[in-house]
Symmetry: C2
Subunit: 222 residues, 2 copies
DNA sequence: TATGTAATGTAATAATTGTTACAAATAACA
DNA sequence: TGTTATTTGTAACAATTATTACATTACATA
């Protein structure tokens, strides 16, 4: 168990012995589930820190007509919905279901608070995890807010290129994944890429995008 | 100053004396700015907890062509970007500028961490603030992700009605505000409302929406 | 290297949404 | 109560994007 916790973002940076001390000092539960079990139902209160020790789960949102809409996969040593434990409305927005035999370690909210107060590393880790998630969400909102596919793409390319200060960008996702991230259809994204290439603003060779007209790309980004 | 801090979400629940003790024990800075001063530039590292004691500021995002895109207003006793202090990439995504004469209290990240470890109320408050924000962002993403305006609206109405278990919903925002939240144009939203009324699914009387065909509304929500 | 699978490029058409403009209704307030 | 500003309803038209379908190219792996 401790070998797994060492890898978890929450316990990162602690030694085996430090983690052992914590598990001796504070109460916790080990929860085991078979394949295809429901771990948390949408709407259920989230009052525990759940860290996956082994296995893989799926978080899916169910719409009002009963259809699953968004799905994400989580696996060891990830944490289930860390940002919901302390939210005022702490109902789970998703249903969590195991994809394989899965085990969790669970700490109650009170115990977690005790641990955070007493261990600075874990406090910083926990804050970093939920802050990073917040940052991810607000960046995603940026992209969803830009009106046209062209402006989403221009921003995406500029952001990626800026980090490396390069005029070429390597796509790390498939078009389908990028289209999903933007919330658009895949052929529409491909068409837009094609249009920008025709206009000589970029050139594309499979996964590599080269920027030719930086200023025009910047103008598209609004 | 302490009178202001009592109202802040971070110091909520503490007595005057408790806050006084904290301000005596831990180092802080008071920062005063005139009207229209830049407090933080986009891209600057965020390494302090900044709480507005007095005044009003504006956070605006600048796109690559130099145009301001999104703007939000913050005023006393709100906190500037609490979720960015502990993020691994802690560069501010927005420029913060004063709209009036403004004063802040600033605690360094290390001091804040000390305070969080030593005061359970503040720890819980801080976690609640950033968790609530995370929740707000993920709900917003939901609405931006639904493809059609009809599905956004259906979800919005269902979510609002469910909380009160009622079949009527009172809009608390103008159409313009709702359209902005959804990221769509106002006339498009109005047209969609009209279509749903024509179909007999809902009826609208200014700010009050009454649900007539719940099942059909649920079917629209995907 | 052959072969099946996944990813990409592209086109025609349909559907949705934005834009612009203006009238009507309501709210705010002197 | 009258006047002005804000909000809402609505229409015509333009622009954008989705849908569907299929060919082509790259990729994994047997």
């Amino acid at each position: 168990m401790i070998e797994e916790l060492i890898k978890s973002p929450i316990f990162k940076g602690l030694s085996y012995n430090e983690i052992e001390e914590i598990t001796n000092k504070y109460p916790y539960q080990i929860k085991n589930y078979d394949k295809d079990s429901i771990v948390k139902l949408s709407g259920e209160k989230c009052e525990n820190l759940l860290i996956i020790l082994e296995g893989k789960v799926q978080a899916q949102m169910i719409d009002y007509s009963g259809k699953a809409v968004t799905i994400s996969e989580l696996f060891a040593p990830m944490t289930i919905a860390p940002a919901f434990i302390y939210a005022r409305q702490n109902e789970m927005p998703v249903t969590v279901q195991t994809l394989t035999k899965t085990s969790f370690i669970a700490f109650s909210k009170n115990t977690l608070t005790d641990i955070l107060q007493n261990n600075r590393t874990i406090l910083l880790n926990f804050l970093t995890v939920i802050s990073d998630q917040s940052k991810f969400l607000s960046e995603k909102i940026q992209f969803l807010t830009f009106k046209s596919i062209k402006s989403k793409l221009a921003n995406y390319i500029l952001k990626k290129s800026q980090q490396g200060k390069l005029h070429s960008v390597i796509l790390t996702e498939t078009q389908q994944e990028l289209a999903d991230y933007f919330g658009v259809a895949r052929p529409s994204l491909a068409r837009t890429l094609g249009e920008m290439e025709n206009d000589g603003i970029i050139s594309i060779s499979r996964k590599i995008i080269t920027i030719h007209k930086l200023q025009e790309l910047m103008n598209l980004s609004k």
